[in-house]
Amino acid sequence: FPVVPEAEDEGKTLQLVESYLQNFYDLQKDGHHHHLRRSGQNPLTAKLKEMQSFFGLEVTGKPDLDTLEVMKKPRCGIPDVEK
């Protein structure tokens, strides 16, 4: 304490990314907190890539600015992939 602003942002970003992928890309809510920075193929990264591919974004597996911009757009509540 105090929280490092960047760390706080990352917390918010992670929350946005997780809830978006749970709502629309069938990311399982398994109680484990995903880490944005862990290298390798954690479920969140795989789902993030799936979402980036669907929207024609650059597939980075990272919540870059373009990806977050799309996640913040108002949208239909139906998932984009089979749930």
């Binding site: 669907f54 650059e58 799309v70 108002p74 949208r75 239909c76 509540g77």
Partner: protein, 367 residues
């Protein structure tokens, strides 16, 4: 387009719908009209018919709902998730739920009820989300003037693959989303804007920033909701930091994200004769500050400081610019003028007064 997994579809073409409740944010008549228009988007291109019923179960039950409304998919308050719908089937199948906490409207403010309803009804009929950015079944909201709305070809192909074509003698077609590297791509208008280049096509604009390799595709309405689609000519006045866009006999002046109040105005304010009904292309010469307007096979030259057409115009395009034919779109960059005619692009050197290169129309998109 994508079918809903399991390919659910209605076994009958004559479906019923019922409006269970209304949002206090719109007049009831406007909600009824939005529902009717949204249903006609799909009935116009298929054999499907929709009959309104009251006081009994309908195939498609339409309602406004608040947060947790007992369907295991609670709404999330303003913005975010706007609505959802259920695939064809008994009971809740086909039903459409709109998030009551959204700012529903019948125009470009808030969220246009017609547009969102039309999208959700696609789900009610068996379509899933499409990854075509121009499709109605694309997951994110984007506004289109309901009076100009045409069901895109991607959605027509999808729904007709489920229910077959329309009973009309002529099959309806819809707009196709432009692809930057499609060699057949032509443009309605092109302008520079603060160092970027905007290529207008139908209701879309392709945006090219010199420092980015990829090209961005957006709806014109994303930046300028008050502008129509089908812009016919555009140019940037660097002195005033404005772009001026033309359609038919009207023009708009834009500064940044704002269409200036009091527009559109008649093009005759520039000094065109009444015989001119539309402008095909325009560019502003960054050296002389003169603006060149191209109409059919002639062109005019306008003095932005004097705010009047120069004498001695119109002149034949061929007499000053060579064999470039009719001009669809034009812009100037780094001293050269680029003329677009169909899929051909001519690079013209105004100092040497000659065409110095000929390219494909899509040469700016790093294909």
């Amino acid at each position: 387009y994508v079918f809903t997994p399991g390919n659910p579809k209605w076994k009958r073409n004559n479906l019923t719908y019922r409006i269970l409740n209304y949002t206090p944010k719109m007049r009831r008549a406007d909600v009824d009209e939005a529902v009717r228009k949204a249903l006609s988007v799909w009935s116009n291109v298929t054999p499907l018919t929709f009959q309104r019923v009251e006081d009994k179960e309908a195939d498609i039950m339409i309602s406004f709902a608040y947060r947790d409304h007992q369907d295991n998919s609670p709404f999330d308050g303003p913005n975010g998730q706007l609505a959802h719908a259920f695939q064809p089937g008994e009971g809740i199948g086909g039903d459409v739920h709109m998030d009551e906490e959204e700012a529903w409207t019948k125009d470009g403010r808030g969220y246009n009820l017609f547009i969102v309803l039309a999208h959700e009804l696609g789900h009610s009929l068996g379509l899933s989300h499409s990854n075509d950015p121009g499709a109605l079944m694309y997951p994110t909201y984007s506004y289109t003037d309901p009076n100009e709305f045409l069901l895109p070809q991607d959605d027509i192909d999808g729904i007709q693959a489920i229910y077959g074509g329309s009973t009309a003698a002529v099959q309806p077609t819809g707009p196709v989303t432009p692809e930057a590297c499609n060699p057949k791509l032509t443009f309605d208008a092109i302008t520079t804007l603060r160092g970027e280049i905007f290529f207008f096509k139908g209701r879309y604009m392709l945006r090219k920033h010199p420092a980015r390799t990829e090209t961005e595709l957006n709806f014109i309405s994303l930046f300028w909701p008050r502008l129509p689609s089908g812009i016919q000519a555009a140019y940037e006045n660097i002195e005033t930091d404005e772009i001026i866009v033309f359609k038919e006999d009207k023009y708009w002046v834009i500064r940044g994200y704002d269409v200036l109040p009091g527009y559109p105005k008649p093009i005759y304010r520039f000094g065109f004769p009444k015989t001119v009904k539309r402008v095909n292309a325009a560019y502003n010469d960054e050296t002389t500050g003169k603006t060149y307007f191209f109409v059919a096979d002639r062109y005019w030259r306008y003095d932005e400081k004097k705010k009047s057409m120069d004498h001695g115009y119109p002149k034949k395009i061929v007499s000053s610019f060579g064999n470039i034919g009719r001009v669809d779109a034009a812009f100037q960059k780094d001293g050269y003028v680029y003329f677009f005619h169909g899929t051909t692009q001519f690079q013209f050197d105004p100092r040497a007064r000659q065409i110095v290169r000929q390219m494909k129309s899509i040469s700016w998109f790093n294909c």
